[in-house]
Amino acid sequence: MKAEDFLEKNEVREMTILSQLISHHGSISYNDMLDHLSVSKASLENDLESIKSWTATSNQCIAIHYDGQTINLKLGDEMSLLQIYRRYLDQSVKTKIITFLFKYQKFTITQLAQKLAISESSLFRKIKELNNYLKEFNIKIRNGRFDGEELQIRYFYFQFYYYIEDKRKLLSQFTSNQLTQTIQSLENYLKVTISSENKQKLRIWLIISKMRITIKKLQTDYLRNQMQPYLKDPLYHKIQVMVFRYFSRYSIEVDEGEAMLHFAYLLAFSILSENDFHEYRLLRDRHAPIASLDTYIAETIIIHFNYRRLPYMLEREMYYHLTHMHTLLYFFRGDIEYYDETVFIQEKQPVGKTLNPFAEKLLETSTWKFDNQMERQKSLLTILLSKYLSLLVFITSKMTKVLQVGIDLKLDDLYKETLSELLISKIRPLNGVHSERYVSHKKYDLILTNETQHDSDQYNEARVYVLSKILSSYDMRNIQRILQELNT
């Protein structure tokens, strides 16, 4: 599901208006806005009205003006689009249903309708809508409580508190010495060091687990099934011992299911550092599903790029990321899409564009390898695709040698200087490329010139590209293509 699925249609539109305004430097004409939204003018006016009414109480942090011609937005220095988004999410009825459910574990329709000050029938409708989105997590709200695999329920809450609801609110409600102590104990037990950012993730997870622990019948059938190859896993074993010992100190009954939940979480959400993970990787069973998929994908990547092998540390890092992705794919379903990093890599980065088909192929391979008759959900796959892609970008950019480009323009001095500089500045944003004015006898990978050469030896081994029209986009495309060829 998407973060905006927690919002109502009109709220999404309001968000879009604000985000359009921000990307247009705070001012946009009615016509452009109407085009973008494809709504009637009356409905735009409504949305603007609604924005105005809440921004009026926002202490000048944000102010909107409109006159039927243009819309203007003023943001305080401290205000960001993300904060605005947060505010919408905070107000949303669907968000409130989930936070209520989290706090009390169950509700009656009457009780919740009263609490949210909405009618019972509209509460029903909201729950129905939510359930529709929750399908991809394979859970649903039924009889006033969550129904489904425990791992999926906690995973959904985790995504919810990590991306949707303000996590600081949750953390400040619960942060206690006990939590800090628990994380410290985990570090002691596993003999690992957890970074402060990961500690925060872990805190959220532990708070969720704490809220869920006393629920009588937790469903763990699917998890137990998936855990079969991991019952002797060294990390799982340690977690199991710790879980049993930890809860033996309270009057809380747990079974292996609880340990399995934590095992899946720790691995999928990269809680361990690369170093600690590496220690584990040396001990784990290489034939278990996740490890063997890691190897398969790693080899596919190496073969694809014709690398003989990766530098030791880079290979370790690749495995580190692959395990997280594959653990996610192996145990979990569904996702809340929040960041637009996919778009960023795919559209803004030329490398992303060419790597995308390969990332898709990897994703296809891994979903096929893990085929378990369970229909995989789109959001999780989207996230995984973007993860594969960023891993590929990461590896290729690490592996790229810096290509030397020499610019040798045969022109009048003044033009030569200017156009060379302009060309250099156009090439500069490309990854792994260094360009300069041609220096004779220096070794280059690519020479850009405007005249066909006569002396074939002049540039030694270097490849030569003759510019058809200096600074044309046609040339730029060709140059990019050649650079990529040179790199593989």
Binding site: F244, R245, S248, S251, V254
Partner: protein, 444 residues
């Protein structure tokens, strides 16, 4: 002043007697849902040990003693509701609902042996015997059984395994952790007992958690764990006990684990309501809040609550989880923090394990002692002992040492008697590197 106490077991009775001592004029009422009074929870073990001839002898106090102290008690009085705003308790008594008002209320409703995770654990062939009636039923059932499966390798489970294997029963013991009695002993200390169990033909299944129990016929049940199962005529549940408090009103704050939240004076979140015994958490060996359901804690919390009825006078000092028992020919005892548990604590600990002769005689018996102490300050944090002779009383010395924050060096200075038939050069409870045969451990 009218003091009402829910539950007339160790905690409730101790609270009643202490209240009488402090408040000669108070009216004291004990409400107890059982049909009999003051049954000792491991009475069945005493019977199997031939230490009592009849389960009925396993009583820690008599009705006469209560009457002498002018304590009113109602048996078969099952408390159903408490209303803390009006200070009224509703209980079910011989087919009718009765109400009683209180000035001070002490909740001593203890704990039950129950599992919510093990499917089928509520059926009849699954034995529990904390209560008198349960013990009577278990006694008969076990008599008629050849094969017995025990779920849970804590103190109760291991005692039962020992006693039943002596009766030539075929015993299977299933324990979630990698070794038995893990709450009290470290893995290195428990080895002799585990070996002895295997020698005695006990099928020891470690690292296995029971998921389901189902009846296969009138007299046979299957216990399932991981991908395995075992068949027997009866099953003994010796898993952790848990409070069962359906009668609480919502004003009384509870912890996540359903225990009642109390302060150091054992006051609950509601004025004039106290909670004691197995239904609360205590400050444990590391001064953190933990659940330690033991009789000594029940009694001591009962006394402390009674002392604080009017004014907060006496703080509860906490529990070191001191235990002692005799199983499979070994006397074992433990107090304070174990090495395994120390990972939950802020202390960096050191440990030493020594085998020490108990007397100065040639053929002296030995005891293996493990000390757990703070690596920096050398303050003693925990101790464990195992021997083939009865050394149980010695653990109390070490418990006192921990409570009074003695260092390993302090202990060496303690006065002790010497008699060659009973002691050797140095008291057993001292860690002196040149005395014992070092088995293992860090530099002392």
């Amino acid at each position: 002043m009218k003091v009402v106490i829910i539950g007339a077991s160790f905690a409730g009775v101790a609270a009643a007697l202490e209240t009488r001592k402090r408040h000669p004029k108070a009216k004291i009422v004990l409400l107890e849902k059982q049909t009999t009074l003051a049954y000792i929870p491991n009475g069945l073990h005493l019977y199997w040990r031939n230490e009592i001839a009849d389960l009925n002898e396993a009583r820690f106090i008599t009705e006469e003693q209560l009457e002498e102290s002018r304590i009113d008690y109602y048996l078969e009085a099952n408390v159903k509701k408490i209303n803390t705003s009006q200070k009224i308790i509703t209980y079910h008594y011989f087919g009718k609902y009765e109400m009683i008002a209180y000035d001070k209320l002490i909740i001593a409703a203890g704990s039950k042996q129950l599992s919510e995770k093990i499917k089928g654990s509520a059926q009849e062939s699954v034995l529990k015997y904390k209560r008198y009636e349960e013990a009577e039923a278990a006694l008969l059932k076990v008599k008629a059984s050849e094969r017995i499966t025990i779920i849970g390798g804590g103190q109760v489970g291991i005692e039962a395994a020992d006693l039943l294997s002596t009766q030539k029963k075929k015993v299977t013991m299933i324990e979630s952790m990698d070794y038995i009695m893990f709450k009290y002993l470290d893995e290195d200390m428990i080895q002799p007992i585990q070996r002895k169990m295997i020698d005695r033909g006990i099928d020891l299944k470690l690292g296995k958690t029971v998921s389901t129990i189902d009846a296969v016929s009138d007299h046979e049940v299957n216990v399932h764990f991981a991908d395995d199962s075992v068949t027997s005529e009866s099953v003994i549940m010796s898993v952790n006990v848990r409070p069962h408090l359906p009668f609480l009103d919502t004003h009384i704050a509870q912890h996540t684990d359903q225990t009642i939240a109390v302060d150091r004076y054992l006051r609950t979140s509601i004025k004039d309501v106290f909670a004691v015994g197995d239904c609360i958490q205590l400050s444990g060996p590391d001064n953190d809040q933990v659940y330690i359901p033991l009789i000594n804690n029940a009694v001591r919390t009962g006394i402390v609550a009674a002392a604080n009825l009017n004014e907060p006078e006496l703080e509860f000092k906490g529990s070191l989880r001191t235990i002692g028992t005799n199983v499979f020919g070994y006397y074992v005892a433990s107090t304070g923090m174990t090495e395994g548990e120390s990972l939950f604590s802020n202390h960096k600990v050191k440990t030493t394990r020594q085998k020490i002769k108990l007397t100065s005689l040639q053929n002296a018996n030995t005891v293996t002692v493990k000390w757990i102490y703070d690596a920096e300050t050398h303050v003693l944090l925990g101790a464990q002992m195992i021997s083939t002779v009865n050394i149980l009383e010695k653990i109390n010395t070490l418990a006192l040492a921990i409570e009074t924050r003695q260092t390993i060096e302090d202990l060496q200075q303690k006065d002790y008697f010497f008699h060659p038939s009973y002691t050797q050069m140095i008291a057993t409870t001292n860690l002196v590197s040149w005395m014992g045969e070092r088995v293992d451990g860090d530099e002392g």
